[in-house]
């Protein structure tokens, strides 16, 4: 005998009411980040990091700017999901938990916006 209601079974969202969306997006962004971060790290290590002109010239190229934008958005998304789980697991007071979750969300969105803006400014200059 199942204790689940017919509606609950059809929605398939489990006892927390969220379903597997969070879990799944964490994996999708993880898979996307494997090539993106590897590409970015290897590329950076081959550059003259002290040279402003060299770095601007590199990040100003169209495809490099597209990949770097994808990297920033995917990193922010994956990081937001991960930090959210850590806060939910270890911060117990309801007020503190909500405050930290809000703060983390705002910081991640602001960081993504800043990163995207910086890349676009260099690419479209």
């Amino acid at each position: 005998m199942s204790l689940r209601t017919p509606l609950g079974r059809v929605l398939g969202k489990g006892s927390a009411g969220d379903g597997v969306g969070h879990w799944w997006v964490q994996r999708v962004t993880a898979v996307a980040l494997l090539p993106l971060t590897a590409w970015f790290a290897i590329s950076l290590l081959g550059k003259q990091l002290q040279s402003y002109d060299a770095m601007r010239g590199w990040l100003g190229q169209p495809w490099i700017a597209v990949l770097a934008s994808l990297l920033v958005v995917t990193l922010a998304w994956h990081s937001k999901l991960g930090v959210q789980v850590v806060i939910e697991d270890y911060v117990h007071g309801k007020g503190g938990k909500t405050t930290l979750l809000l703060l983390s969300t705002f910081i991640h969105i602001a960081a993504a916006a800043a990163g995207l803006f910086a890349i676009l400014r260099m690419a479209l200059a």
């Binding site: 971060t37 003259q48 990091l49 402003y52 990081s79 991960g82 850590v86 960081a111 990163g115």
Partner: protein, 131 residues
């Protein structure tokens, strides 16, 4: 809800295995990498702001504390990357036997240390610093 519901035993009742430290390290390095991401955005903003701002940022990155942080972020990111692959393999249902999980744990630690050393070495060259 007066009846207390069954809870899974607390972490403290389990015998310590070294694979457990990788599990907690995955979270710690993930949070550290989140701060590393903020540093990356700060660096991108400096680069987009012009030559003076970029020069200031690179001077800032050359202080001993910043170098220590960069090595820390590098290890955090690389460990999270390697152990993340291990988690993705587990998600397919493979490698969950005890012996396999111990072997992959050792592999992740070795790979993370070797990759960190390589990145720090090449990073010093790219930053024009003697390692």
């Amino acid at each position: 809800m007066s009846q207390p519901r069954p809870l899974s035993p607390h972490l403290g009742v389990y015998k310590f295995m070294y694979t457990m430290s990788l599990s907690i390290l995955h979270r710690i390095t993930g949070v550290a990498a989140a701060f590393g991401f903020l540093a990356l955005v700060w660096w991108l903003m400096a680069l987009a702001s012009g030559p003076e701002a970029y020069a200031r940022a690179m001077t800032c990155l050359s202080t001993p504390l910043a170098k220590l942080l960069l090595v820390g972020f590098t290890f955090a990111f690389v460990f999270h990357f390697c152990n993340g692959i291990r988690h993705l393999v587990w998600d397919t249902g493979r490698g969950l036997e005890r012996a396999q999980a111990r072997r992959s744990a050792a592999l992740v630690i070795v790979a993370a240390l070797v990759l960190t050393a390589l990145i720090v070495w090449f990073g010093c060259r790219a930053m024009a610093v003697t390692p």
